[in-house]
């Protein structure tokens, strides 16, 4: 672990006695007080802290909501309304929990894009990056199952569509789907097990977060320049510098967050989820929660894979493979991008393609919410359908990771790197 800048010397007799037998205060002091961080970290580095805050909020509100919720197909919907109308502050707790999930994803997406831009996934932080991806996958599973619990129309049909994805797996697909459902369709057994898993997975996430932080504190944080720390002159302690900075960012987030909770609590939800689940009627247009839309768009963009008119992979399976690949390729990112320069600041072409990727993912999100055959851009009589837009943006997504990054590592001419973090800061100050 990165050596703390100053040793832990407790004054309090109790702390001293306890710490000798179980050095937990030393551990916390090293991790949260004297943890040395590069002195040039910008506000984008606060989003990991914000994600931690939101995980805490989700666990606390979730545990409380579970005291009033009933995981039964006949009672779940009513119990959620009971929380909304009858339970003291139930409306607040539920809106904090549902908007908290959305904000958790916003914060984590920004955190991931920050890692991508500044090359934080590169050595010696590959394990750190991959642990983060494990957290992301666990979050997706947890959020999906949580969305099912209110047992509204969107809950039910999201559960149906997502579990049916597994049916595309050759040979064992149907057996897996039946195993997930515990029946012939999504029904009470499905709701029960989703509740069980939705309750436990956040604690698994918490465990992986501990590993993520551990893996962070071995090499220490990356920084906007992407160059290694040369010595103490490049660093400041976590406390008070980042404690203050992260607390400020937490306040900013809280203002935006509670603006949603109090003034637009259902803005990021779907009105159809206030209709009780009906296994006999599919809503006219079903969409997953917004934070899954880019991946949903990739799923729907892939057609049959054919060679000489012979269908090699049916669209259903091909779409699922593409969606899985879009997530799993992130695990290979440290090896796809072998450029020795970490930070996008010194990589002109990477920087451009990165921002195109950000826009690309946003467009994928919009495509995911549309009907594929509808016209996106009108040209004369016809136009370009959302399906085509989805296919083009899907191609860019994969192209960025699988083609552009390996090529850039070989051919991109990078800008000269500064000598050290402190030198870069001093020369900037001198110019000013």
């Amino acid at each position: 672990m990165t050596a703390p800048s100053r040793p832990f010397e407790p004054k309090n007799g109790f702390v001293k006695w306890f710490d000798q037998q179980l050095p937990i205060f030393t551990l916390l002091h090293g991790a949260l007080v004297a943890y040395p961080t590069p002195k040039n970290l910008n506000y984008w580095w606060s989003f990991g802290f914000l994600a931690g805050i939101l995980l805490f909020v989700q666990i606390i509100t979730g545990v409380v909501l579970a005291m009033h919720y009933t995981p039964h197909a006949l009672m779940a919907f009513d119990s959620v309304e009971h929380i909304m109308r009858d339970v003291n502050y139930g409306w607040l707790l539920r809106y904090v929990h549902s908007n908290g999930a959305a904000f958790f994803f916003i914060v984590v997406y920004i955190h991931m894009f920050r890692g991508l831009y500044y090359g934080s996934y590169k050595g010696p932080r590959e394990v750190l990056w991959m642990l983060g991806l494990v957290i992301f996958l666990l979050m997706m599973a947890t959020a999906f199952m949580g969305y099912v619990l209110p047992w509204g129309q969107m809950s039910f049909w999201a559960a149906t569509v997502i579990t049916n994805l597994f049916g595309a797996i050759p040979l064992v697909g149907d057996a897996i789907v039946s195993l997930l459902w515990g029946g012939f369709a999504v029904d009470n057994p499905t709701l029960n097990r989703f509740f069980s898993l939705h309750y436990v997975l956040p604690f698994v996430i918490f465990g992986v977060v501990i590993l993520h932080i551990w893996a962070l504190h071995i090499p220490g944080s990356n920084n906007p320049l992407g160059i290694d720390v040369k010595g103490p002159q490049d660093q400041v302690d976590f406390h008070p510098y980042h404690v203050v900075k992260d607390t400020f960012m937490t306040s900013v987030m809280a203002i935006i967050f509670f603006a949603f909770v109090f003034y637009a609590p259902n803005y990021m939800g779907h009105p159809d989820n206030y209709i009780p689940a009906d296994p006999m009627v599919t809503p006219a247009h079903i969409v997953p929660d917004w934070y899954f839309l880019p991946f949903y768009a990739i799923l729907r963009s892939v057609p049959d894979v054919t060679i000489f008119g012979f269908t090699l992979i049916e669209a259903k399976l091909a779409g699922i493979m593409a969606m899985a690949a879009s997530l799993l390729l992130l695990f290979a990112l440290p090896w796809l991008d072998r450029s020795p320069v970490r930070s996008g600041t010194f990589r002109p072409i990477f920087k451009l393609l990165f921002w195109v990727l950000v826009v690309d993912v946003v467009i994928l999100g919009i495509v995911g919410a549309k009907v594929p055959d509808d016209i996106a851009i009108t040209i004369g009589e016809g136009g370009i359908s959302w399906l085509i837009v989805g296919q083009l943006t899907t191609i860019y997504y994969f192209g960025f990771f699988l083609v552009a990054l390996p090529l850039l590592a070989k051919f991109e001419k990078t800008k000269p790197l500064p000598e050290s973090i402190s030198e870069a800061i001093l020369s900037r100050n001198a110019k000013a």
């Binding site: 049909w157 569509v161 994805l165 039946s178 195993l179 006999m280 006219a284 669209a315 259903k316 594929p372």
Partner: protein, 180 residues
């Protein structure tokens, strides 16, 4: 110390008693782990009461020609459609070989009961409920991802890979069927 000597003696011949113990213990351990894990996995499969869901009988007499009804069977909708001669002709005129999931209309109905089409109303793409009398072929249309089925419930256009499934059913008499 005698055991020590024995061990060295056997080392020369290759297999030691300890090797056998390792393999045997490991083997039993794997079997025990499997036996412990299987109930934990299998409990997720459909339980006895779910599997025991009985078959249903449906009275067809009230259904007019050109009308369809939807009944619930094993938690899923089943469409029973009394087709018009035009709908039957539309399904039979199209060459079977050109279908994504080649199946003739005759294979999908009971002989002598050609006007009755019984299909499970679950889209073979991702399990949504298709809407009847909709889509390009006036059969079914799935609103989720745009699959079009014809008047025989066969996939004609869109991402679904298979035709709407025909459940197991028998005619008790001309106007009564038993599904399941």
């Amino acid at each position: 110390m005698s055991t020590m000597e024995q061990t060295t003696e056997h080392e020369e011949t290759g297999a030691r008693r300890r090797d056998f113990l390792f393999v045997a213990a490991g083997g039993f351990g794997v079997v025990a782990a499997g036996a412990a894990v299987w109930p934990l996995v299998d409990q997720m499969n459909p339980s006895a009461d779910v599997l025991a869901l009985s078959s249903i009988e449906v009275d067809l007499a009230p259904i007019a020609v050109g009308q369809a009804i939807k009944v619930k069977w094993r938690g899923k909708p089943v469409y029973i459609r009394r087709r018009t001669p035009a709908e039957i002709a539309a399904a039979r005129d199209f060459p079977t070989a050109d279908l994504p999931d080649a199946q003739s209309d005759e294979e999908r109905v009971k002989a002598g009961h050609d006007e009755w089409l019984v299909v499970i109303g679950v889209c073979t793409h991702l399990g949504c409920i298709p809407i009847d009398y909709q889509g390009d072929y006036d059969g079914w249309y799935c609103p989720c991802h745009g699959s079009h089925y014809d008047t025989s419930g066969r996939i004609r256009k869109g991402p679904a890979p298979k035709n709407l499934a025909v459940p197991e059913y028998t005619f008790i008499n001309d106007f009564r069927i038993k599904i399941g």
